[in-house]
């Protein structure tokens, strides 16, 4: 069950180094063929690359406030994901300073699944000067009944 008191919970800050090898590995996995992911010493990240934040987050105790949401493993799903770049996307060699926060919890009625509980977590990525470079916005949903596997 989603814990309502997790609203507003903020994770500990963590650093994320954007690395050339990880960019190439990720680009290959998502069939990104543009030469900009491989050229030069500072290739650009694929559009959904910031999902690799979890690797960096895991290294810092308390960095991921999603753990506090306590969404059911069986009835919880990733409903939506968004990545926003405030200017050109990060490149290899960039060090990002990140922090995640549970920003919204809301409910919606569904005829087939009963009450749906949505939870939104926003991770902000800043540069060393504090400028906001990117945001990752995760929306999870928990159904009252288990979803039917199709």
């Amino acid at each position: 069950m989603v814990a309502p008191e997790s609203l507003g919970a903020e994770g500990k800050p963590f650093e994320m180094d954007v690395e050339r090898g990880k960019i190439g590995e990720f680009a290959r996995a998502v069939h990104a063929k543009h030469a900009s992911h491989w050229q030069g010493d500072h290739p650009v990240v694929p559009a959904t690359f910031l999902t690799t934040q979890f690797f960096w987050e895991e290294r810092v105790d308390g960095a991921n406030p999603w753990d506090l949401v306590q969404m059911s493993q069986k009835r919880g799903m990733h409903a939506e994901q968004e990545y926003i770049f405030h200017g050109p996307p990060p490149r290899a060699g960039d060090r990002l300073f990140a922090r995640s926060k549970i920003t919204d919890i809301w409910e919606k009625q569904s005829r087939s699944a009963g009450t749906l509980t949505f939870v939104k977590m926003v991770t902000e990525f800043r540069d060393a000067d504090g400028n906001l470079r990117a945001e990752a916005i995760l929306t999870g949903v928990e159904t009252a009944k288990p979803p039917e596997a199709s």
């Binding site: 996995a29 650009v44 694929p46 959904t48 799903m77 994901q81």
Partner: protein, 131 residues
Amino acid sequence: MNTPEPRTFGPVTRTDFVRYQGASGDMNPVHHDEPFAKNAGFPAPLGVGMFPAGVMASWATDWLGPDNVRRTRIRWKAPVFPDDQLTVTGSIAKEYDEDGEARIDLELAVSKADGQVVVQGWMTFVRPEGL
């Protein structure tokens, strides 16, 4: 501006899921461990939602340039399983100026061979020079 041809990929395999999981760091066993997935009620390992979503975004960035993307929004509509054949389609929804830059909004989808949409997407790009 001409929209590129749709991109078909697959039939997707367990190896595609594992390669994506290794790259992303999401090692949830439901996406690769057959007994675990079956125990959770799935007929086979459940595709990682971010994998087709990532391929969808790549279709657009291969076209308009990865340096130009400013926003990618993804919504999951249906699960993917091994052997699904998937197709990425997209079109220009809007062209406009914002903050002194020419922008393009795209609407995208990933569909199964029978037409069922598995991922919907919306992306915003800075319009590349010369296009």
